[in-house]
Symmetry: D2
Subunit: 140 residues, 4 copies
């Protein structure tokens, strides 16, 4: 989908995240930005685990939400004023310990709403741990 | 995602649909089946329109549900006993009149649950009308 | 939730529906309107059934969408210009044949978005067939 | 909905939570349990805030997930083996700082799936901050 235009690249987005969350040791790293897509990685930390030695649902939801935020910011710019209005996540299989990958794709980016598809995995993109659809309302 | 194995091809799936819905003039046509994916087309009919000359939401939901059903059947076989347990659809833009395309992708196919991503459009796949995530429970 | 104000009662809403869908034999009937809530009934018709003698998913989705539309209209007025932006439905159990009841409740009604909870049943409100959450964008 | 039977009351559920998360200073408190419903409170902590002085989305998602977990456990017992399979949350308005209330209601509790409705607020139940629908798969 070449119709999207990137306004902020990976280096710029990482700078924005570092400024916004200076004290967060487990900050997400933006690895790749292309029109309509971003890829992030969240380093693993043992505190993410739940009984059963799987990564917790809230950790995955939090990363999905963050990936959608970064995706919208990459296409709209850092002056972004947007709020998540809905998030739907399907947990597809237990997420084994390891760094968590998120690939987020724009489904639409309008004047008022943005909708993003996010896929999460630890083992391999062929073994998705979760899929989320996230809607942002852009401030008027 | 080459891990999925196709059990029924497009011709076989169209036969199953014809047998199941013999009197439905607006039957969906399965155009393409590949591991983890199917593509369907629903011929346009004026009764699908709502005020504003756009295709109605229920028409799109119905096609999304059908595409997920065909996708699961393509990978499980015609003896399928499955029920939709949830459907989430995002309406991304008004769907202009025309045949409706559905591309459905398996996100997971387990012993008990299947989760499918479905994208719908009339104008072009770069201008999606809707995205749906659909969960099937496979009968025990 | 007494904070909502009803603008159109059941009789007026039924008139609006009759005018909008004059040829639809299976029109929904608005039974009750109170602040923040409406109750509708869709008369049963054998064409709603799917294999297994249960009411089809698309029938339930269509009624849920309609109930949310009526609910918003009851509180905003007939000049309503609104579009469904998302619908999430959980199918909770098979819906046995019979008239279908829908109870819709406003969760929020803002300048730009309305969010509705809809519950559907045939047998009894203690045996829900489905629950839906529906978002409307109000035209600017 | 008097058809549900409570197996664990508020005191027992609070004990289970204390044992499960001994080091978590911001543990949720179960306030009330009745057939088909539980009410929880999460004490406020400044770390929950996001720019704009509102409670963050991940905080609300985490509480919603926890409330559904407690709700299922209240009706199934502490030997619960269940995993969240999907979560859909609608953010209805900004959540002002304060203790967060969660009211969770069973929509269905079957042999394999449980579906819960959760409503969250800080100011008042008439000013909901979010509504979530959460599905649990019960281990076989």
């Amino acid at each position: 989908m070449s119709k999207w235009t990137v306004k902020l690249g990976a280096a710029e987005l990482n700078d924005v995240l570092s400024d916004a969350f200076p004290s967060d040791a487990r900050i997400d790293l933006v690895r790749e930005v292309s029109p309509g897509r971003v890829r992030l990685v969240r380093p693993f930390h043992a505190s993410m685990l739940r009984p059963g030695e799987l990564i917790s649902g809230p950790t995955l939801m939090n990363l999905a939400d963050n990936a959608a935020y970064v995706l919208v910011m990459a296409h709209v710019g850092a002056e972004l004023m947007a709020v998540t209005t809905s998030l739907t996540i399907q947990f597809l299989r237990g997420a084994k310990p390891g760094e968590i990958h998120a690939e987020a794709q724009l489904l639409t980016l309008g004047r008022r709403l943005a909708v993003c598809d996010v896929r999460l995995w630890t083992e391999s993109p062929e073994r998705l741990a979760a899929q989320a659809t996230i809607t942002y309302a852009r401030a008027g």
